[in-house]
Each structure stands twice: as C-alpha cells, then as structure tokens.
C-alpha cells in the first residue's frame, strides 16, 4: 500500500524545497510502519502529518523572479490560503469579529434567499408553467385575486376564450372517505375538465382523471395523491380497483398521481375527484371554482386577459344580481401562487438583508484596513525584498477568502438555526417547504466568496498606492492619519449609521404593524371559545328541514358536554372567515339601479349566538326562542351595515329587508337589532357590513359549532365524540380553539415580525461594532496627540468633548441620511403598515435616539481608554 497521492503533492509544492524530499521520505517511512497494523488509520495520520508539515514549513520567501516559478496559480492561492489560516489563528479577536459579522449577514441572506428561491426561482412543477393562464377572481372586501369563479362563468370562459386551447378548473373540499366501518376526513381536489393533463401531471400507478369521467352516467372514479397513497395505504398497489364510499357515493380508485407536485398547498391534496354534477356547485352564486387554461401558441397572458375581461363585463350586464362586484383577470403561475403582499414582503426582506450584508461588508472592510495598516511595515519589507505587488494583493485576497469561507460556514449554521426557528413558529405549508437544499447552500457559498473579494478591493487599492520607501523610512505608524484616510473613515461612519437607522426604522414600523394585527380588537373575545366545522352533506339528506333537525340535535348534545357553558352555531367564525356576500333591498326602497343595491355578508346563526360569542347588541334586541319558532324571519344587522345603509340605527330598527338568497327564494325579514361590529378577517380592512339570520329561516349545510367554556382547549376531544354520537357520518373537522385558529392565521405575521426584529437587532449590533472599530482606531491614531495635549495640561474633559463631538457630528449626518431613506422605503410599503404611519414620529425618535446612544457608547469606550493612559507611556509607544 502506498501513501495517499494528494498530500504528497501538497507537501512537494507547499513547503521549502530543501525539506520536501526528506520530509516525504520520513512521512512514507512512518506510513510504512503504521500501515501494517491499521491501514485506514495510517492514511488518515499521513494526511494529518502532511498538513502539519505544510503548516510549519510552508514557503515564505518571495520567489526570486516571477518567471522562474513553475507553480500554478492554484498552488499560489493554496499557499496564500495556508498563510491566511495562520493569520486567522494568530489574531483570534480580529478573526472572530470578522467571521461572526460575515456569518450573521450571510446567514440572514441565505434564509431570505431560501424564501425567494421557492417563490421566484424554483422551477414550477407544471408542464411549461409559463404557458398557463390562471383566472383570478376578486370581490370587494376580500383579498385580491383570491375569489373563485362560478361554473357558469367557467363555462363562458371555456367556450369563448379562444386564446386558451384548454381550460379546466378545480375546487377544494373536505370529504368523508369510508371503507367498511373505517371513515377518514380527507381533502379532495374536485376537478372539471382535464386539469391533471393540463398541469402535466403523470400517473404513478393506473391512470389519471380525464374529462370523460365527469360525464353523467359514467362510473364514479377517484385518483389518489401520492403522499396520501403512501401515508394511508403504505403505497399498496392493490388499492387500485378498490371501492370507497366518498360522501356517501361508491367510487373506484383508478390511479395514483406521480409525486411531482410538492408546491404549497397542492401537496395537501389527498384524493382527486371529477366533478360529480352536484347542482349546488353549479349555481351562479357558488364561486368556489378556480380555472386555469393553457395558452394557444403565440398567445400571451395579456391576450387572454383582454378576452376574459370582455366576458366579465358582459356577465356583469347579464347577471347584475350575482356579478355586480365580481371581476377577474388572467395571472401568471407565480401570481396565482403568491399573493400581492407576498411580493412586497419578499422585496422588503431582500432589501433589509441586503443592507445588512452591506453593513457587514463595511465592518469587515474596516477591520481589514486597520489590520493592513498595522502590517504596513511587513508588507513594505516584502515588497522591498522583491515580492511583486500582485503577489501581495493576492495574499490579501487569500486572507479575505479564508475569512469569507469561515463566515460562510458559520453563516450556513446561522441560516439553519433560523430555519429551525421558522419551522417552530409557523404552521403554514409555505414555510414548511423551506429547506436547506443544494441551491440554498450554493447561494451561501457564493456569498462567502463574493463578499470577501468585495471587501478586499479598497484595502488592496491602498496597498497598491502605498509608497514603499516612505513607509520604510517612517519606521512607525505615527503618521498614518492622513487626510484621505480620515475622510474614508468618516464616510464609513456615516454609511454605517445611516444603514443602521434605515434598518431600525423600517423594521420597527413593520414589527409594530404585525403586532398591531395580532393584538387588534376583534370585536369579541375568542379565548373562551372552541369550534368545529360540520357539514350536513346533500348526499345524506336533500331535505333542508331534516338537515336543520340534525344540526339542532348536535347543538343540544354538545350543550350537555361537562364544562360547556353555552353553545351556538354560526356559518362563519367571526373575524376569521368571510361570509357569503348577498345583495338585498331595504323596505319600500326600490332596487332602481342595480349598482346602488346594497350588499352585505350573510351569517346564519343559532338564536343565542350573540351571547355565546360575546358580541353586544347596540340597539334593539338579539334573537329569542320565539323568533326561531315563528315563520316570520327577523334579521340583526351589524353596526357597519346600519351606518352604511340606513340614516341611523333607530331607522334601521323596524325596517324590513329583502335578501336575495342565491340558494333559494328571497327572504323577507324585519330588522330587530343592531350588533356591534366584529373585525374584518383581513384585519387591515374596515369591518364588513353583516346581516345575521336564524338557522331556522335560511337553509345552510356547512356550519361551525362554537362552545363557550372556562377551559376550551380540553373540550376538543369530547366535542368530536359528541358530534360523532349524534351521527357517525358527520365528522367534525377544523376542530380547534378559536384562539388557536387566530394564532394560525397570525403565524406568518408573528414569524415575519420576529424576522424583522432579529434583523434590526443584528443591524444595530453590527453598526455599534463597526463604529467602535472605526472610532477606537481613530482614537488610537490620535493617542500621541492626545498624550501631548494631556501632558501640556489640557483637561481630559475638553479633549473628550472634542473627539466625541466629532463622532456625534458624523452620526447626525448618518442619521439624517438614514431617516430619509427609511421614510422612502416605508412609503413604498405603506400597504403593509397597519396601525402606524410611514412617518410615525415616535418610531423615528426612538430609533434615532437608540442609534445616537449606540454611537456615543462606541466612541466613549476607546476615548476613555486613551484618556486614562499615562501620557508618557502613550508617547513612548508611538
């Protein structure tokens, strides 16, 4: 067995030629000795020993003439690298300061890159995703692009939009999937048209769904998602062909989708179903469908949009009752997958971490310059002895690369820890798909290389400019404080302060907004409430009265659960879910122009809803038992509805409304009360005007069972059990305390505010460290002068005031620049802000004060040191 080749080459090239031969011989002798007992260990030890030999004996002398060198650039760099490593070990304080600074910045940037990677860069799992056009609906009061399309609208698009070769649509629905006596609640993706083909999915087993499967009379089939097939059936092939009862109807499993869609909430699908022909899903009022089309060759998204917009406009005229407020546009795949705010938040995060990186670079550059000046003598001697400038410059870059790589490694660790934090805080599928994949690591490595190159540019230029002879004859570092150097330092101070102020202000504004959202007044107290959703499906009973009786049995049963104080039903959870928007007419006022017809969210509740939730009535009365048994419908309106549609609350009371119910005949109801507003589920928007009707007067299918209790969290299991006892075919889902539901909603806000707060903290720490570095260097340069003045009797106070005054002046310039930048940035993200204006005086004041204090501390520390040194000692040293 021979010794490993690579370390032999390293030894030969890196160490002094006088030793190479003998050292290699010695190494191989020891190796021969050791290899007999433990071959693997011998190889390892050979490596270690060879590295040790290189470490101790690497060539230090400049080569006599550049041309005599047979070394490749690679080897020269390697040598610089070894030297950088030695320098690293020999100056630990400097090295750690630089490495930690770089690591924090690289880590933060890597984490944000991870998010950007998924939103912007990662290839989408669809077939030619740039040729897909997504029809995105919008209704007022809800998030833009998040509303769906009704089936008749879809049909109009499919038949009339010629820029699409194919159009398909889907909707999500939790379904009950039963085989014999085992039933599961699973998430179904119901499709119309050839959606799977259009997306370019492949079948892992069996076949995919096709448009033929939705024809009336065709056998009912279903396709499993790969993750569900593996998780639920252990990837059992025999599941194909088996029959399951899905929502009461037997379906045959015909295939499994190949596992190539791991994108956001698409990965949550359990089972794919063709549209069943259910008429309730085909009404104009039901906007649960999401259409996507494949563009014809040469057609663009804009072309498709023009056609879609024309159809939207025509439908608005033809069906004013359902289409008055609805608009739709054609979006790209990325637009369909990420909301408008996502882009804003992402760009803001990118700017913030970019500034952080800039700050870190400024710090490291400053450290490098300071160290380089300390080594001017050494560098000058080397140059005088024949080292070319290029050689010296390469050495500086090699040292920086060493720092960058250490920073990059530590930065990966920082990013990894940050990611673990993200996973701990957020339950959202989007954040769960963040991971340290190859691209992310590559990004960190690239940063680790580019950053040190960037920061060594200026120090290198200084070396090139330096006059060797002058430096040598100086014989000391006394006169380094030249005018240019001082100007450079001042610029660095201003840059660091302004970056810190910008980051601090923007982060503080964002954090305040996110916190405001989290603690915003909902209009009721969610803490004593727990809820579960139930769905009396049409396959169970077509009879609305039977469905109502079933819900009432559930309500009666859950009230008996020990610990429950009260229970109610509501079609939406207040401040969490959006209600269906319905148009209505007030009293005798004629409809007149369709555009003036009021619309409001319709929430269907049980009689004691208001007392259970804890929403007070501001005028009139709430529902009573007598209202439920009376055939005459009554309605409670929210304060916002009363304010918007009636001259005053008292005029609202007693008037009648005629509610156009999309799922049945219009409902005529007398207004009996005005309830306090609950917050809009999009908390930054004003409250939605709401009409409350009793369950008895308006047929519903899906509703929430809401319990009030002292210990709501402990009731989840009994609640599920109680509902199961009433009807085993009525699974409860989304079972959670309302507080938990709120936290789920807010988890991204909490996460983002945590990120911004962390970045702001890093920024101010980096800026302080940077200022401290610059100032202590500046003070040390002047320590001779300070000593002379102290010796001549100048009071410490006067000198301190002068030095600190100078730094304060620079800080104020930096703060002014930073505040202006922050304001500009805050203005551009105004739509993200809530409860705080882009020019919030308190935020700016606190941030400015904090920065000023930080810069004072950073100046005062080195100043104090200089002032306490014995003047004689100080003079002797310089």
């Amino acid at each position: 067995m021979t010794p490993p080749l690579l370390p032999q080459r390293l030894v030969r090239h890196l160490i002094d030629a006088r030793f190479a031969e003998a050292a290699l011989g010695d190494l191989s002798e020891i190796f021969d000795d050791e290899v007999r007992s433990a071959p693997r260990r011998a190889r390892f030890r050979y490596w270690r020993r060879a590295a040790g030999v290189c470490w101790h004996l690497h060539r230090r002398r400049p080569r006599p003439a550049p041309h005599s060198s047979g070394d490749s650039l690679m080897l020269t760099m390697l040598r610089d690298f070894v030297r950088g490593a030695r320098l690293f070990v020999s100056q630990p304080a400097f090295s750690w300061a630089a490495v930690v600074t770089l690591a924090l910045a690289i880590g933060a940037n890597t984490l944000i890159f991870n998010i950007a990677n998924i939103l912007v860069l990662k290839p989408l799992p669809f077939d030619r995703p740039d040729r897909l056009g997504w029809i995105l609906g919008t209704i007022p009061g809800a998030s833009p692009d998040r509303a769906g399309t009704s089936l008749p609208e879809y049909a109009a698009f499919r038949d009339e939009v010629s820029t699409f070769t194919q159009l398909a649509a889907w909707r999500r629905q939790p379904v009950t999937m039963r085989e014999r006596d085992q039933s599961d609640r699973v998430l179904a993706q119901m499709v119309i048209g050839n959606l799977q083909g259009l997306w370019g999915l492949k079948a892992a087993r069996g076949r995919l769904l096709s448009a033929a499967d939705e024809q009336p009379g065709s056998p009912r089939v279903a396709v499993l998602a790969h993750q569900f097939w593996t998780a639920r059936f252990g990837a059992d092939e025999r599941v194909i062909g088996r029959s399951f009862v899905i929502d009461g109807v037997p379906h045959t499993i015909v295939g499994v989708v190949a596992p190539d869609i791991e994108l956001g909430n698409i990965s949550e699908i359990d089972v794919w179903l063709p549209y069943s022909g259910d008429p309730a899903l085909a009404s104009r009022a039901y906007r649960g469908w999401r259409p996507v089309g494949r563009l014809r060759e040469h057609a663009t998204i804009a072309d498709a949009h023009v056609q879609v917009a024309a159809i939207v406009e025509r439908l608005r005229r033809e069906h004013p009752d359902t289409n008055r407020d609805w608009t739709a546009r054609v979006g790209t795949t990325r637009q369909a997958l990420g909301g408008a705010n996502t882009w804003l938040v992402l760009s803001l995060l990118s700017i913030v971490v970019g500034l952080l990186l800039l700050l870190a670079c400024a710090n490291v550059m400053n450290l490098l310059i300071a160290r380089l000046i300390g080594r001017r003598q050494e560098l000058a001697v080397r140059t005088a002895l024949g080292a070319t400038r290029g050689r010296v410059v390469r050495q500086i870059i090699g040292e920086s690369l060493m720092l960058g790589m250490a920073g990059g490694l530590l930065g990966l660790l920082v990013a990894w820890v940050g990611l673990a934090g993200v996973h701990a805080v957020s339950t959202e599928p989007f954040f769960r798909q963040l991971q340290m994949d190859f691209g992310v690591v590559l990004f960190a490595v690239a940063l680790a290389f580019v950053t040190p190159l960037a920061v060594s540019v200026i120090p290198t230029l200084r070396v090139l400019r330096d006059d060797v002879r002058a430096t040598l004859s100086e014989g000391s570092t006394r006169t380094v404080g030249s005018a240019t150097a001082a100007r450079g330092r001042s610029a660095l101070v201003v840059l660091q302060v302004s970056l810190a102020v910008t980051l601090l202000i923007v982060a503080a504004l964002v954090v305040q907004s996110m916190q405001a959202i989290v603690v915003a007044d909902l209009g009721y107290d969610p803490s004593p409430l727990v809820s579960a959703q139930i769905d009396v499906a049409r396959w169970k009973t077509e009879d609305d009265q039977a469905a109502l009786r079933l819900r009432q049995r559930v309500l009666a049963r859950v009230r008996d659960i020990p610990g429950v104080e009260a229970a109610a039903l509501a079609t939406v959870l207040p401040a969490l879910q959006f209600a269906d928007n319905v148009p209505f007419d007030i009293g005798g006022r004629s409809t007149g122009d369709e555009r003036d017809r009021p619309t409001a969210g319709l929430t269907v509740v049980s009689a004691d809803y208001f007392s259970v939730i804890g929403v007070p009535l501001l005028a009139g009365r709430g529902f009573e038992a007598a209202d439920a048994s009376s055939p005459r419908a009554v309605v409670v309106v929210s304060a916002e509805a009363a304010r918007r549609f009636w001259p005053s609350s008292s005029e609202a009371l007693g008037s009648t409304v005629r509610i156009a119910d999309p799922s049945g005949a219009p409902i005529e109801a007398a207004v009996i009360g005005v309830a306090r507003n609950v917050a809009n589920p999009m908390i930054t928007e004003p409250p939605v005007p709401t009409l409350y009707l009793l369950d008895e007067h308006r047929p519903t299918r899906t509703t929430n069972v809401i319990l009030r209790a002292a210990a709501p969290a402990s009731l989840a299991r009994p609640l599920r059990q109680a509902i199961g006892e009433v009807d085993p075919d009525l699974p409860a889902y989304q079972l959670r305390t309302v507080t938990a539901a709120m936290e789920d909603e807010n988890s991204s806000n909490l996460l983002l505010s945590g990120m911004f707060a962390a970045f702001a903290t890093i920024a101010i720490l980096l800026a302080m460290a940077g200022l401290y570095g610059v100032m202590s260097y500046a003070v040390s340069q002047r320590s001779g002068e300070i000593a002379v003045r102290l010796a001549l009797g100048a009071p410490t106070r006067v000198i301190a005031r002068q030095v600190i005054g100078q730094s304060v002046k620079l800080s104020i310039v930096g703060i002014a620049i930073g505040a202006v930048c922050a304001y500009g940035l805050a203005r551009s993200i105004a739509s993200l802000l809530f409860g705080v204006t882009p020019a919030d005086v308190v935020t700016y004041g606190v941030a400015i004060a904090l920065t000023l204090v930080a810069s004072l501390v950073a100046t005062w520390l080195p100043m104090r040191r200089a002032a306490t040194i014995d003047p004689l000692e100080s003079l002797r040293r310089t």
């Binding site: 010794p3 003998a22 011989g25 191989s28 002798e29 030999v53």
Partner: protein, 110 residues
C-alpha cells in the same frame, strides 16, 4: 558579535534527540526519540521547523544522505549537532542543573 543566542526548551529536546540518534539522526528517529524518552507527542512538522531554526542559528548542520530503497526511494536529511550547538546545550543544561541544585521541591518523591 555578542554571545550566541540561547535555545528554548523544545530546541534543547530536539538537539538532545539528535545526539541520542547518533549517526542516523534524521526526521523520523529524532521524532521517535522525543516521544519515547521525553514523552512529547510533537508533530513531525514542528520537529522540522525546530531543526530548521537550529540550523539557522548554527547549532545543527545537515547533509543529504543517499537515496534508500525503503521510504519510497527518497533520501534522508541527516542532522548533527555542531560544536557551537554542543556548547550552548551544555551551558543551558548546566545552568539548569546549577539552578536546581539542592532544591528539595524538585527531588523525586521517595
């Protein structure tokens, strides 16, 4: 010139190691002596480095031996302690001996 520069502890050990190895004092045996006699697990590199420094000070001299069949056919660099090296070594060991003379604290426990 003034007096010759002194030697550090490790340098002493390495010079003693060279002396112990006699005529065959090259890297490996010297390194082994350090471990066997002084219990020092030095790295090979550190030994070379020290020998190089001693050579620069003139306390050891080296010559390249002939290539051997073992060691991958590579030659050895053989060291010997020079006269001035011996002088310095003697002086520093003697001064240690004189300084420790009669110190009860340094005696081996009985």
């Amino acid at each position: 010139m003034g007096e010759s520069p002194g030697v550090g502890e490790f340098e002493q050990l390495v010079m003693l190691g060279v002396l112990q190895c006699g005529a065959d004092a090259y890297g490996v045996p010297v390194w082994r002596e350090l471990e066997a006699r002084a219990g020092r697990e030095a790295s090979l590199g550190a030994v070379y480095k020290t020998l190089d420094r001693l050579e620069a000070k003139g306390y050891v001299a080296s010559s390249v031996g002939g290539p051997t069949a073992e060691r991958g056919g590579r030659s050895k660099r053989i060291y010997r302690v020079t006269a001035s090296g011996l002088r310095v070594l003697r002086r520093s060991l003697a001064s240690i001996a004189r300084m420790s003379e009669g110190l009860r604290e340094l005696q081996e426990p009985q």
